[in-house]
Subunit: 460 residues, 2 copies
């Protein structure tokens, strides 16, 4: 028994050949494009808790069935509901000009009629931390500008300003908080996104300016006279809402209780149609599962495709799934979720037990012709929603996509279908179909167990 | 006398050398950038007839004085005033989605609460012409998509749809008119612009959809079911307004009554800050005049810089100037106006008398190192505003700028300072300063006379 337990995980040769066939078929298959087109056209903006939350779930259920998934079901996900009604901002003095602004998720409203105040500008969050009482009663602005990178790493800074800046400013007594959008474009399309409040901590209206409007504010301030800005946000919390993760399965023929988990998140922010974020991810996973389901024989293990609820406001669907399925973690063979747009996958990494590294290399060899490099040192996080199951001990991949342009459109009105290249989308389907099938056919597991990979350094 | 009249116009050698000095100085001079920054920051959106119409004129007067112009004055320009208050559109059925829309200039409002109707789609204006009664009571949509070109020639088609489509649809009994924005981008930033109505002809609400929204509408319609759209425009005509052309002059020392005319238009559309359209043109001309005024000696002829009023809604300032100055056409030595953004000048052409062609070649030789090609066959139109004086007989140049990206931002909220490259802007100043000075110093004229160049084929 001890000898068997230490046996390396391997993927049989016939499964490798089938995976190659799936990979190449995916490059010429229309399913993912059609799903992305369908979700962005027939549903469009689908903010968690909005009317389109339900329509999107109905859409996903219908698509799973039409695509031949054996089991289609939902698991409830409950969260606080936030609504956006209207948003306006303008410089009042010294030079009156309208501003393109968007409220952050979970921002409270300004008083009726708006809030006017003097703007105090900071280049970074650290500079704000040092501000002390200088911001009391003022409108805080943090102006850090993200640069585009393939891995989008400046989003670490931009999103931290967005998620932590408002609460910090509120504690310092500020009247409101603005940031230069956490984006890489120069369009009058501000980037929304959720912010975070401390439990029982103070909350102030919080919003993002588009990059050209941030530039304008900074140019006015550079003239040395106080800048007065008016902010008018009609938004806020509105009870709770119960949505659901929508799940489709291609049932395994040998070990149906063991699952390979893939997916994307079904919700989107509301200014755009959630094409790159994250119809693409949902479509990639659905198409990959569909292609596997079209094979003459069912895979050994179940392919479970999860369309997660409300990722945008705090991984609500991913956390609910992990809470519900923590006890099943050892039966989650391997998982990875797509939530970084539709750019090509350029790197794979994995968090698996050492005995499964050879099987990972087998997968890497199948993905290499697609331009995917294998980084054997780096951990695998599972993506945003499945990071939560990885944190419970599920073996995971990171299938890293090219995000050079992602943050031009992320969380803006510009998140529309035309931003997606179908060949790049199809490359993702090829990656997911091949890896998922190989994981489903593996002799042996990848090391999922309660508490496994606890300190692998993986991020979302 | 007859022999003298036929003498070729020539530019003295010392003037050519001075023009070269001006050219090279302009490439490193901050004036045009500072003016563009100032107009877009301290004034911003300046729709003809709005409060900023007056502020912009005050700005121009102050800048002319600060830049050392000898004479600064205004000439009134009166026109109908159009106002924009709010605009919304959405698909109602089969798949409800909001649309990014902007009303066209001179559009009437929809009834209070909006107008809902079935959309009838046409790929071109010619297809609409053939529609007959099929559009009665419907919302007409024309979906032609412009492609980017250095000379922006697709704007000929796009602007024709915008200016002629609504009146045509109105005559056919349509309820409203929409076009795919006359632009080359894929941003949720629709392109406004004026439309034209027949005197006493019917008028219907008219607006432009952003490119991604036009795509969405077309995808919905492609599914074969009727598309219902709601349009809600609060806008319309509101009496008349008297603005003014603002003029600054560097007075000539030998022939002060003879002028070299350069300029740009001071007004802008309201969604953006009018950076490329046309703060750049105003700045280029002001800076060129300023650099000439900084020379140790005044030029022989007057440099007249005109910041035109209300170009956007029908060349009102250019036409008023031409009406007022038609009698002076022979004293307009040469003219050209900048209204195509801030891209580099890549070609010069001219409409001048044959005896002045050698002088034009002298100018071309000075501009050649800047990358400006000389097309001796093509006419010169004078730009948009000065096209009207050219039509009265003023000799004119076309200083053609690179418009490859111009129609990404033209007439949208994206028309902001960050879209301008200062080196390219400075190249324009070099072109204008050099040509204007050489024209001012020429021995002889360029052929301006009442009725001259009547059939040269020049366009705006
Ligand atoms: Zn996402
Ligand atoms: Zn997102
Ligand atoms: Zn213009
Ligand atoms: Zn214009």
């Amino acid at each position: 028994a001890a000898a068997l337990a230490a046996a390396p995980t391997r993927i049989p040769e016939d499964a490798v050949r089938t995976a190659i066939t799936l990979r190449d078929r995916a490059l010429h298959d229309d399913t993912a494009w059609n799903l992305t087109e369908s979700l962005t056209t027939e549903i469009g903006p689908r903010l968690a808790g909005s009317d389109n939350d339900l329509r999107a779930r109905e859409w996903a259920i219908a698509k799973f069935k039409a695509l031949g998934f054996d089991k289609v079901y939902t698991e409830p996900v409950t969260f606080p509901k936030w609504v956006r009604r209207s948003e306006h901002a303008a410089i009042v003095a010294p030079f009156p000009q309208p501003l393109a602004v968007t409220a952050l998720g979970y921002s409270p409203a300004t008083p009726a009629g708006g809030l006017t105040g003097e703007v105090v500008l900071f280049p970074t969050l650290d500079a704000l931390k040092a501000a002390g009482d200088a911001v009391r009663g003022k409108i805080v602005y943090v102006g850090f500008r993200m640069q585009p990178h393939r891995d989008g790493h400046d989003y670490g800074i931009g999103s931290t300003i967005r998620t932590h800046g408002p609460a910090l400013a509120a504690k310092l007594g500020a009247a409101a908080f603005l940031l230069r959008s956490a984006g890489t474009d120069s369009n009058r399309t501000p980037h929304t996104g959720v912010t975070q409040w401390e439990a029982d901590g103070p909350r102030i209206p919080a919003a993002a300016l588009s990059a050209p409007d941030a530039d304008l504010l900074e140019r006015m301030a550079a003239r040395g006279k106080p800048v007065q800005l008016k902010l008018d946000l009609d938004c806020g919390m509105d009870g709770t809402y119960t949505s659901a993760n929508v799940i489709g399965e291609i049932t395994g023929s040998k070990h149906p209780e063991q699952v390979v988990a893939i997916g994307g998140h079904l919700d989107s922010w509301d200014p755009g149609t959630g094409a790159i974020d994250d119809a693409a991810g949902v479509a990639i996973a659905m198409a990959a599962g569909h292609l596997i389901g079209e094979l003459p024989k069912r895979p050994d293990r179940t392919i479970r495709v999860i369309a997660f609820a409300n990722e945008e406001q705090g991984l609500w669907g991913g956390r609910a799934y992990a809470e519900a399925h923590a006890k099943d973690v050892a039966r989650h063979q391997l998982g990875s979720e797509s939530d970084f747009g539709a750019g090509k996958v350029w790197r794979m990494s994995a968090s698996v037990k050492p005995e499964a590294r050879d099987a990972i290399r087998q997968i890497a060899d199948v993905l290499a012709p697609l331009g995917v490099a294998y980084d054997a040192q780096r951990p695998g996080g599972g993506g945003s929603d499945l990071s939560q199951m990885h944190a419970k001990g599920m073996a995971a991949l990171s299938l890293t996509q090219d995000g050079t342009r992602y943050f031009d459109w992320h969380h803006t009105s510009n998140d529309t279908l035309d931003k997606i290249d179908r060949d790049e989308l199809d490359q993702n389907v090829a990656v997911y179909a091949a890896f998922a099938y190989m994981a489903a056919q593996a002799k042996g597991d990848f090391g999922s167990a309660p508490g496994a990979f606890a300190h692998d350094g993986a991020e979302d």
